[in-house]
């Protein structure tokens, strides 16, 4: 009994001495800055910066091979934090950009050609005749963008439309490349006048397929300051660099122009509101 206790205790002493020596001799020096920067980064490992993950970016920033604002997701706040860790000053620049789905044709207003009951995924739905919507440009509402968003910033409305929550959107652009219709655009987050349509079809065809589609009548082009709204193949497109008064929306006969953005209270119907708020 006693022999066993002494034997084990001395073995333990020997081993702990060995470990203590090893920890000293083989110590890996970690730059405390790397750890601090990694702590400051969002930690989504989304890969938008072009590096394999947040830890890798932190190492690059600490070594000086990447800028303090290299994380597009973290934006200005994170850049300021990293700058102070690095002992630099960061001069904030510009407005962050957020994603917006350029389609407002939900199941209420946009016609469908058939009943789709295949795989719940926009790319799969687009394999059959380009999707069930009568408008070949419209949001398919099968949630692919919401699925790829690492930040849970996209809500699928029960009315069959994807909607980006600009508060949560970090501008990582993953949804932009995931959308088979290519209708998600990056816009400056402080803008409030939007033309939510991507259809390049002629007016007559748009009217048949959607009640809120742009028919290319150009009334908004005339109502807005020069160069603020421009025509691109039967579609009015907002120039987000220009300032546009909200009254332009009144010129649109199809209600395609939507006022949405910071400081604007929007009225959603109860069902959609519950979906948006339920996830917020």
């Amino acid at each position: 009994m006693l022999t066993a206790i002494i034997a084990l205790a001395s073995l333990a002493l020997l081993a702990s001495f060995g470990l203590a020596m090893a920890a000293r001799v083989f110590a890996v020096e970690i730059d405390p800055k790397v750890e601090a920067i990694e702590e400051a980064l969002p930690g989504a490992n989304c890969g938008v910066c072009g590096l394999p993950g947040c830890a890798e970016l932190a190492r690059h920033i600490a070594e000086g091979t990447a800028e303090v604002d290299a994380c597009p997701v973290g934006g200005e706040a994170v850049a300021h934090m990293i700058a102070s860790i690095m002992g630099q000053t960061f001069e904030g620049g510009g407005v962050r950009s957020v994603a917006m789905v350029m389609c407002n044709g939900d199941d209420e207003v946009a016609a469908k050609r058939f009943f789709y009951n295949g795989v719940y995924d926009c790319n799969s739905a687009a394999l059959l005749f380009g999707g069930d919507k009568a408008c070949s440009y419209g949001c398919l509402g099968q949630g692919t963008c919401a699925g790829v968003c690492p930040f849970g910033a996209i809500d699928m409305l029960p009315s069959g439309l994807a909607r980006v929550n600009p508060e949560k959107c970090t501008g990582c652009t993953k949804c932009v490349s995931a959308c088979p219709k290519g209708i998600i655009k990056m816009i400056p987050s402080d803008r409030t006048v939007h033309i939510l349509c991507s259809s390049h079809d002629k007016g007559g065809k748009v009217r048949k397929s959607c009640r809120v589609g742009c028919i290319g009548c150009q009334r908004c082009v005339k109502a807005a300051p020069e160069g603020a709204i421009e025509m691109e193949e039967n579609l009015a497109v907002v120039n987000y660099e220009a300032d546009i008064p909200h009254t332009v929306a009144e010129s649109c006969p199809m209600n395609t122009i939507v006022i949405r953005g910071p400081g604007i209270v929007e009225e959603l119907d109860t069902e959609n509101k519950a979906a948006v708020e339920g996830r917020a």
Partner: protein, 439 residues
């Protein structure tokens, strides 16, 4: 004759239409003729709105070597050129031709010639000019199959009369109603590629067709009629070759890699028409069937006949018809519009009633392995569908998703009712996209 690995035994439902002799459909009020009717390069349209065309006149030229010309199916006027639903599942440009009722052939068409005087190249050129494509469904240009690169020796011709797809009876009826023409056409293919042995493969569930073809092949040298086991997809090219010869077409390869040429019975019939009479491919047999149609029929319809006109010719839809499928129920594509029209690859239209429409719920895979047991290509559909669901397309490529023939056996047996073929089609599309990007 034997079989291959995997496969399923669905209900065939061929009795709905297999007693109906081929009926010729009268010329409809308009024909919507698609310009793209072949696999490979899309043909270039050479007609414009307002042009008068004659029956058999070329309206679209081949867009490359792997392409086939498109001919006007009757004489009349091109009323418009617009985008129409293509039965393969896309919206494509097509010419709307309003027949003038005279059905008048263009110069040089519909003239009988002595085929014994033609050499191999002359026959091949007539087949190419006739716009022939595989009529089994894939619509691969026939002359490409007849032009093996030097060094590839073909020593066996298989005429595919298996018709394993449920419901469809177009090939079955063609073998009963035009047996000697099919054999003539097969003999023309054999002369082009210089083979002595021609096997006509027919599934055992068509004893009358086996009897009729045997009768007509009796006096001819080189023909052998083989009765095949009844198992879906016996009529798929690679499976049929294995059943008959035990030769395996390598992954990504063609039948010519193992010295075999496979042609559908309908294509053989079209070759006979094109070479002997200079009649290009402007009509085909379409089975209009299913419990959603009043009178199931095998219809000899012009290319471009709309589904609406075909259905009217077959007595119209029943009140509870819920789904229209171009092709058979296993591999066909659901249609949303009756403006879809017959193309060279349209073997049938199946109309299902509401209670027959399968619902695929997309539940999770329980890894039971039934799909692995039935996949005739020896793939692992379970793993593939999971990879694709999780957008791991590279892995799906490593698991040979491109070998999938989209036969639908996996979806048929799946107890979780997973939309397997839909997943696999997505995976194939993504792998193709990635390959294109990589150059």
């Amino acid at each position: 004759m034997g079989s291959f690995f995997g496969g399923i035994h669905p209900r065939y439902n061929k009795e709905l239409s297999d007693r109906q002799a081929i009926e010729t459909m009268p010329l409809p009020g308009k024909l919507i003729v698609h310009f793209t009717q072949n696999l490979g390069a899309p043909p270039r349209p050479i007609v414009k709105k307002g042009d008068d065309v004659k029956k058999g006149q070329v309206i679209a030229e081949p867009g490359g070597f792997v392409s086939a010309p498109v001919h006007a199916p009757t004489s009349g006027t091109v009323k418009s050129i617009d985008v129409y639903p293509h039965p393969a599942g896309t919206d494509m440009p097509a010419a709307v031709i309003v027949p003038d009722g005279n059905d008048e052939w263009a110069d040089g068409c519909d003239v009988e010639r002595d085929t014994n005087l033609l050499d191999a190249d002359a026959i091949k050129n007539l087949i190419q000019a006739g716009g022939l494509v595989g009529k089994g469904g894939a619509a691969f240009p026939t002359h490409v199959k007849l032009s093996p690169p030097p060094g590839k020796k073909i020593n066996l011709l298989i005429i595919n009369g298996a018709e394993c797809e449920p419901y469809l009876t177009a090939d079955h009826r063609l073998m009963l109603d035009r047996p000697s023409e099919i054999l003539e056409g097969a003999a023309l293919f054999a002369r082009v590629i210089g083979v002595d042995l021609i096997i006509v493969a027919i599934e055992r569930n068509k004893p009358d067709a086996i009897g009729r073809m045997s009768e007509h092949a009796a006096g001819r040298a080189g023909f052998s009629i083989e009765a095949m086991d009844v198992v879906y997809p016996q009529g798929a090219e690679k499976q049929l070759i294995y059943s008959l010869t035990k030769r395996r077409v390598p992954a990504g390869g063609l039948p010519m890699d193992v010295g075999v040429l496979v042609q559908n019975v309908g294509t053989a019939y079209a070759a006979y028409e094109a070479v002997t009479f200079d009649r290009p491919l402007i009509e085909r047999v379409v089975t209009v069937t299913g419990s959603g149609i009043v009178q199931p029929k095998n219809v000899l319809a012009r290319i471009g006949a709309t589904f609406e006109d075909l259905i009217a010719f077959c007595g119209g839809l029943k009140s509870d018809t819920g789904k229209i499928i171009s092709g058979g129920p296993m591999m066909g594509v659901a249609q949303y519009s009756l403006d879809a029209s017959v193309t060279k690859g349209t073997s049938g239209i199946v109309l299902l009633t509401n209670d027959e429409i399968p619902q695929f719920t997309g539940d999770a895979c329980i890894r039971c392995g039934r799909c692995v047991n039935v996949c005739p290509m020896g793939l692992n559909p379970s793993a593939l569908s999971i990879f694709i669901e999780r957008m791991m397309f590279e892995r799906a490529g490593e698991y040979n998703v491109m070998d999938c023939i989209e036969c639908g056996c996996c979806a048929y047996v799946c107890p979780s009712r997973r939309p397997m073929v839909h997943h696999l089609r997505r995976g194939k599309a993504e792998v193709r996209k990635a390959a294109k990007k990589a150059g």
